[in-house]
């Protein structure tokens, strides 16, 4: 990971509309192709979501993307980059292919094991070791 992302705070991302927990490994980021757009990104398929409909591209770049819906309410809360484009890949990116729109989600800072310190990406366990993110820990908000 690029050093500039190591100090970023890890966020818990939830659906603004139904409260469904979407992801425990969020990062507040800006869109490479349009730096005026803020969003949350994450590095693994978020457990509270499902891909919906078909791939498409936007005017910003040539990345092929697909909408991500919240399994609680079905609202589109973000998108997944299914095929990144060359310019985006060569830019300084955080390697995340899953994005949430800030208008569709709420976010809280994730605390570390002590429950007192705000967790940053430098100390975030890898995906396969992150119990919380895998939905096995106390944070698992979905019992279905």
């Amino acid at each position: 990971m690029h050093p500039q992302f190591r100090s970023k705070v890890v966020c818990e991302v939830g659906c603004r509309w139904c409260g469904q927990v979407l992801c425990h490994r969020g990062m507040r980021a800006i869109l490479l192709a349009d730096t005026t757009i803020e969003l949350y990104s994450t590095d693994q398929p978020p457990q509270g979501t499902q891909l919906v409909a078909e791939d498409y591209t936007t005017r910003n770049c040539w990345c092929r993307i697909r909408d991500v819906g919240c399994v609680g309410c079905g609202n589109v809360v973000g998108y997944h980059v299914t095929q990144p484009c060359e310019p985006c890949m060569s830019a300084c990116n955080n390697g995340h292919y899953w994005m949430f729109h800030t208008t569709e989600v709420t976010s809280t800072e994730r605390l570390d094991h002590s429950g007192k310190q705000i967790l940053t990406w430098a100390y975030l366990p890898r995906v396969e070791r992150d119990d919380v993110g895998a939905g096995r820990g106390a944070w698992c908000g979905v019992g279905r």
């Binding site: 819906g69 309410c73 079905g74």
Partner: protein, 864 residues
């Protein structure tokens, strides 16, 4: 706005026995309701939200907390009402939680319910109606339909039996922002029923792993107390009569000892007329007294009274295929698909033109004449006078007034999407032009005339393929609809031309040779099926409903989607040619008759289904094509099914089921040993000859697989007749059945006349044989293989073969002491009862006992 259907009052239908008020004629009103029960809800998506329409608020909806098959919403109408239609509102954007599939059940006003009649305006149940066993605070809800948990099982409620919950709608919402209004079932046996409750049962969301959401529900109908009270009373009488009819059948079929209570039942002054009096007499005569001769007389009377004719008119026809066998020396057109066919109504001549044989396009023109065979009218070579280039996926229409065959359009491989792009990338210009040439064949003189070198330049369609073209005789016009445009010219300002566009609707006035654009493919038709206007397509069917002055467009393909809709386009009343209505506006000429004909017993969404019209009977016959597999995304199944659509009553009936050939899996045809059946195919052609009352089918593509190659095409010619039961044949068969029964009883030695239970003296075998040879044989159509076989097998009854335990196993009729036990009185009764039930079928449904049995409806409680 309403996207689908216009709610309107239906015309009353007369029924001789059920004398009931029909659905009211007055305008419908919105029916207020409250949501009284639900399976679950998530977050703040409370079920009450569905009463409010607020399409821009994502929260203004019910959303379930699970996506299993047990989710529901129970609505209680503030006042009982005859519900006419239900409108579903949606979010202002597509949403994965929209219901892709759902059903709606209605709970009719029960004659036994304390809700009925006296308390029409009361909105709560009276305390006295609460169950004595339930807690005082328990909500007073109606019993839930038993099929809720297992909707596919088709329980009693699903079939609407017993006057309980009835399925009044099964449908699906498009995943778009348009409100959708559905007409619901509001009558049973032509009697409208008022509802007290409505239950919405989601079956699938647009994305399978999401919960179900319903944004807004509005019900329309009639709730004026006077109307509802009258209907409720009539509904109660209808239920009463139906119950009695089932009781009658039950008593009749169980034992002869029930006769006295039966007669009492029918003679009660309060009892409605249950069945036709002839049937009552027939039962007593035949079943109780074994009066075979009087029974035959009763059936003859039924024929004279026109009763049998009425039953025949209501019965569905049966498709019978006959292959036209080629003569060894006669010419025969080669195998092909994507060709064209037209039938000359005056002479019965069948014309076939062009097509694709698996390797190249064909340009030959053939005529088939019954009794004479095929004749090649034009070989289609490149020499000699100008003629249409070899082509497939074009259209050919016969105009009897000008004695012409009109030919328009063709598929050009070099111009199709991928190939054209490849050629452009290589800097190559396709050799074939993209001009839409238009030709006429002179049926009297023979010979081709080119009417136009380029119809696009004359305001007509660009070069299209898999479009449709029909003749409208009153306006002397051809209507051309749909097809894919292959023009390489830049899109015209009105957007109807240009590469890869779908072509709109055009009219060609034959005398003036002028083209008019009537409607174009509506903008946004790719994104949403709810786009306003006539959605263009390829591989569809189009026919003219001359009585209704409209074009009917069925099924077809758009992008990768098979369509399953039936759309009507109204033509000007008489003589005039339809004018242009700008796209993007609601076009009042377009009416979606069905969004998915498969839901109404019609064809599955499909491609290259072929349709032909029988104007005299007002019927459209739809044959074969490629049908989408239920829930599948594959290329589909090649089938050879036949449906009949009634243009006046809007009813679909499947009259023939050809086995499907899976794409690439082989298989095909049917072989039941008795009759020949055509191999399933698509891209074949079908035409109707009114004079001979015969449908022709020629050639087509059987699809790959089963040892077939991609190049295989068919060259078989078939005749299909829709055999309709004819009253005198029906009577003859009925007499055959009665005499067969008499012969059976002779073999049993029961003798005639006798009352059940008293086997009479044995009949001389020779006497029985002579009865078989003379009386029975005379009622048999010996040319009908099945009947003839049945008749021949009957001789075996004399020697103990056949059903119902004849005596004298393998030997002569004896005294009953042989191996097989003698028939009991019960055997005789059962055998006659079965015969009676068969004979009752020659009476129209509303004059006879029901098909269903009481025992099938009695709820049996299973202790868990």
């Amino acid at each position: 706005m309403f996207a689908n259907i216009k709610p309107a009052a239906a015309a009353p239908r007369a029924t001789p026995h059920a004398i009931q008020p029909a659905t009211p004629h007055s305008a419908t009103s919105q029916l207020p309701y409250s949501v009284v029960a639900w399976s679950s809800y998530s977050a703040n998506y409370h079920p009450r939200n569905i009463a409010v329409s607020c399409p821009t608020d994502q929260a203004s909806r019910w959303s379930s907390a699970a996506h299993n098959q047990s989710q529901y919403l129970l609505l209680k109408l503030n006042r009982p009402a005859i519900v006419d239609s239900i409108t579903f509102g949606k979010y202002h954007k597509p949403h994965v939680c929209n219901l892709k599939e759902f059903r709606v059940l209605g709970l009719p006003l029960s004659p036994h319910s304390p809700l009925s009649l006296n308390s029409l305006s009361s909105s709560t149940l009276s305390p006295s109606s609460a169950s004595l066993l339930s807690l005082p605070s328990a909500p007073s809800l109606p019993p839930m339909p038993s099929s809720l948990a297992a909707p596919a099982s088709g329980g009693l409620a699903a079939q609407g039996m017993g006057g309980g919950w009835m399925e009044i709608l099964r449908g699906g919402l498009r995943n778009d922002s348009e409100d959708e209004c559905f007409r619901v079932r509001r009558e049973a046996g032509s009697v409208p029923f008022p509802l007290t409750h409505i239950l919405i049962h989601p079956l699938a969301a647009h994305s399978p792993s999401f919960n179900f959401s319903v944004w807004h529900v509005a019900a329309q109908g009639w709730d004026e107390p006077g109307i509802v009270e009258r209907a409720g009373r009539a509904w109660g009488e209808h239920l009463h009569r139906t119950t009695l009819l089932h009781l009658l059948k039950h008593l009749r079929t169980t034992s002869p000892v029930h006769l006295p209570p039966l007669q009492l039942l029918q003679s009660l002054p309060s009892s409605p007329q249950l069945e036709h009096p002839l049937l009552t007499t027939l039962h007593t005569t035949l079943v109780m007294h074994g009066g075979f001769a009087p029974a035959q007389h009763l059936l003859r009377r039924a024929l004279e009274a026109g009763i049998i004719a009425r039953a025949c008119a209501a019965a569905p026809p049966v498709a019978r295929w006959t292959r036209v066998v080629p003569t060894p020396q006669g010419p025969w057109p080669g195998p092909r698909g994507g060709h064209q066919m037209a039938v000359d109504g005056a002479s019965g001549d069948v014309y076939v033109h062009g097509g694709y044989d698996g390797e190249r396009e064909l340009g030959d023109l053939w005529r088939w004449r019954a009794g004479e065979g095929w004749r090649c009218l034009d070989g289609g070579g490149s020499r000699g006078s100008p003629r249409p280039s070899p082509r497939a996926c074009h259209k050919l229409v016969l105009d009897p007034a000008s004695r012409s065959l009109f030919v328009l359009g063709r598929y050009v491989e070099a111009l199709c999407e991928g190939n054209a792009q490849r050629d452009r990338d290589r800097g190559e210009v396709p050799e074939t032009g993209d001009e839409s040439d238009f030709w006429r064949w002179d049926m009297d003189k023979g010979g081709w005339e080119r009417l136009s070198a380029d119809t696009e330049a004359e305001g007509g369609p660009s070069l299209v393929y898999d479009h449709q073209m029909v003749l409208d005789p009153p306006s002397r016009s051809l209507y051309v609809f749909g097809g894919r445009s292959q023009s390489s010219r830049p899109a015209s300002p009105n957007g109807s031309h240009g590469r890869e566009a779908y072509s709109g609707l055009y009219a060609y006035h034959i005398p003036s040779r002028r083209w008019t654009l009537v409607a174009k493919d509506p903008p946004g038709a790719d994104e949403t099926p709810a786009a306003l206007g006539l959605r263009s397509r390829i591989g569809h069917s189009m026919v003219l409903d001359s009585a209704g002055r409209r074009l009917l467009v069925l099924a077809g393909q758009r992008e990768r989607q098979y369509l399953g809709d039936l759309v009507a386009f109204t033509l000007p009343a008489a003589g005039g040619v339809a004018g242009f209505v700008a796209p993007g506006q609601p076009d009042p000429r377009v009416e979606v008759l069905s969004r998915d004909t498969a839901m109404e017993g019609g064809p599955e969404p499909g491609f290259t289904q072929r349709a032909a019209v029988d104007e005299g009977r007002g019927e459209v016959v739809v044959v074969g094509g490629i049908a989408r597999e239920r829930g599948g995304d594959g290329p589909g199944v090649v089938r050879n099914d036949v449906w009949v659509y009634g243009m006046t009553d809007g009813r679909w009936r499947k009259v023939y089921s050809g086995d499907g050939a899976g794409w690439g899996t082989g298989g095909g045809g049917r072989d039941d040993g008795e009759e020949e059946h055509p191999q399933p195919r698509f891209a074949g052609q079908v035409g109707y000859d009114e004079g001979r009352d015969v449908y022709y089918m020629f050639g087509g593509n059987p699809g790959e697989g089963g040892g077939r190659t991609v190049r295989e095409r068919l060259d078989d010619l078939w005749e299909m007749m829709l055999v309709r039961p004819d009253p005198s044949t029906v009577l003859r068969r009925a007499l055959f059945a009665i005499r067969a029964q008499q012969f059976r009883e002779m073999c049993w030695g029961v003798g005639t006349p006798a009352s059940p239970g008293v086997p009479a003296t044995p009949v001389e075998p020779l006497m029985a044989l002579s009865y078989l040879r003379r009386e029975v044989a005379e009622c048999v159509d010996h040319t009908d293989k099945r009947e003839e076989r049945e008749f021949r097998e009957m001789a075996g009854w004399l020697f103990g073969a056949g059903s119902c335990g004849a005596f004298g196993a393998g030997g002569m009729a004896g005294d009953g002491s042989a191996l097989n036990p003698a028939p009991t009185p019960d055997d005789v009764f059962r055998s006659r009862t079965q015969l009676f039930q068969r004979l009752a079928e020659v009476f129209p449904e509303d004059m006879r006992e029901p098909r269903t049995n009481l025992t099938e409806m009695v709820p049996v409680e299973i202790q868990r």
